[in-house]
């Protein structure tokens, strides 16, 4: 029995959506455990045996039971819609990611551009939350977010385009299939350009996700919790979910662009597992940075972007283009 294409797409989207939510729940547990190890603690331990594995479920239940508070002076429509406007692009970025050959919602021929465009929409929800709360901390946070995201969008796009130039395609599945062979992943290729591009990609994604050391818009010590300060209960959970889904999405993209996606030793059905492991590796790199560094100032963040990362990413992109042109379209 074959279903109409619309129904097939809907079923695939349903499965991917739920898988993403489940992964996000357990990625938070992973991060808490990882952070705890780095600080010689145990982390969540008591809910669920062994090692508190039910903690994310308990957290979700707790958040659902919390009172939903709307500030009296809030702009109700904007305030209530903001978590949804924030969450939708963060989850939608998974639509184009192929988890194995032919396994994904939609393998568009402009897949990576779709990813970049949709993840740029996240800022609208963030701004709505910051402005709709009618809270000065939230508004300052939203302002900083716009500054930071505009500054880091460009290096993010340029570094993500380096593998596109090397692979000669914008389709994510073709970018993966261009990385076959021993040491064929783009990290190892193009005379070190790949490693530099991966590092620049990591810095740009950490900034785009507003994580430490670039988390000036959350900055507990000065802005309480930034744009989400007025949110409680399930709305807070949606914002949190969106944030981690975005981190996970860029981790998957990083693993796909630079670490060969589902390629790995063993039979073909191991592919999605390799991909997941690589994505978690990228996620742990980001987490490692988060728990190792301190927050830097606004002007330092902007200076890093405009004076260092943007020129570097442009040079990398041009160097990759030269390398491809020099070899006459052969494998670099």
């Amino acid at each position: 029995m074959t279903l109409p294409p619309l129904a097939q797409a809907a079923i695939a989207a349903f499965i991917v959506l739920n898988a993403v939510i489940l992964m996000v729940a357990y990625v938070t547990l992973l991060e808490r455990k990882f952070a705890a190890r780095m600080q010689s603690r145990i982390g969540p331990y008591y809910v669920g045996w062994p090692h508190g594995w039910l903690q994310p479920i308990a957290d979700a239940l707790k958040l659902m039971l919390k009172e939903d508070v709307v500030p009296a002076a809030a702009d109700r429509w904007v305030y209530n819609l903001a978590p949804i406007a924030f969450l939708v692009p963060c989850v939608l970025i998974f639509a184009t990611i192929p988890f194995a050959p032919g396994l994904g919602v939609a393998d568009l021929n402009i897949g990576i551009l779709f990813f970049l465009a949709v993840s740029a929409l996240e800022i609208v929800g963030l701004f709505m939350g910051g402005w709709g709360s009618n809270n000065k901390y939230a508004l300052i946070s939203a302002m900083r977010a716009v500054n930071q995201i505009i500054s880091y969008d460009l290096p993010f796009i340029f570094t993500a385009l380096v593998p596109v130039v090397l692979a000669g395609s914008m389709q994510l599945s073709e970018i993966v299939s261009a990385q076959t062979g021993l040491f064929g992943w783009f990290v190892f290729r193009a005379w070190g350009l790949g490693v530099l591009a991966l590092l620049a990609y990591l810095v740009a994604t950490i900034a785009a996700e507003n994580r430490v050391p670039f988390d000036i818009l959350e900055a507990e010590s000065e802005l309480v919790a930034g744009f989400r300060v007025e949110y409680s209960g399930m709305k807070f959970a949606l914002i949190q979910l969106g944030e981690y889904a975005h981190i996970l999405g860029t981790s998957f993209l990083g693993a796909l662009l630079f670490l060969g996606g589902w390629l790995g030793p063993g039979p073909a059905w191991l592919g999605p597992i390799w991909f997941l492991l690589k994505a978690i590796f990228v996620f742990l790199l980001i987490t490692w940075v988060r728990w190792s560094f301190v927050r830097i100032r606004v002007d330092q963040i902007l200076a890093i972007s405009w004076k260092l990362l943007l020129p570097l990413s442009i040079v990398l992109l041009m160097a990759a283009a030269f390398a491809v042109a020099w070899s006459g379209g052969a494998r670099v």
Binding site: V78, N109, I110, L113, L116, A120, L121, I123, V124, M143
Partner: protein, 165 residues
């Protein structure tokens, strides 16, 4: 694009455009504009111009739109600061001009109805490769001129910001 999907997106586009006009609050208007620009991107997608759709979202609907919103918020003071509206007479002038535009629209539609419908043009590929090829061959001069224009605007902004500091 199926007719139902088109009707749905068109309804959202029109509703958001009306919301943009009706809302007193400039921030609400700007958020409606984001919705409207998103609908335009969906139309591009329906016409097979995928690259244009994605560029529309990156350039207009995302961060840059929000930057505009901040500019509106910071630069346009509220009524209590400006006093009575100084541009009432200009608003009256908007009425005849709007009527003129509407009349033009009606005339164009009327002319269209009379004329035989043109044969549908050959589908133009809207992919990245086709657009890139066009930009760097047939439309190279306009493309470069546009980039010079943008560069001039950027240098101008830097100059103004410097002078004040």
């Amino acid at each position: 694009m199926s007719p139902i999907a088109f009707a749905l997106v068109a309804a959202i586009a029109i509703a958001s455009a009306i919301g943009l006009l009706v809302k007193k609050n400039p921030i609400h208007g700007a958020l409606f504009l984001v919705v409207n620009l998103g609908c335009v991107a969906v139309f591009y997608l329906g016409l097979g111009a995928e690259f244009l759709a994605v560029a529309q979202v990156i350039v207009y609907a995302g961060a840059i739109m929000v930057l505009f919103v901040f500019a509106i918020m910071v630069l346009i003071p509220g009524k209590e600061e400006t006093g009575p509206d100084p541009r009432v007479r200009w608003r009256v002038a908007a009425l005849p001009f709007g009527a003129l535009l509407f009349a033009q629209l009606i005339m164009i539609l009327g002319a269209r109805r009379g004329a035989p419908t043109a044969a549908p043009a050959a589908p133009v590929p809207g992919g990245v490769e086709a657009i890139g090829r066009l930009l760097f061959t047939d439309y190279l001069l306009p493309f470069e001129l546009t980039s010079v224009l943008l560069l001039a605007a950027m240098v101008g902004v830097l100059l103004l910001a410097r002078r004040r500091a």
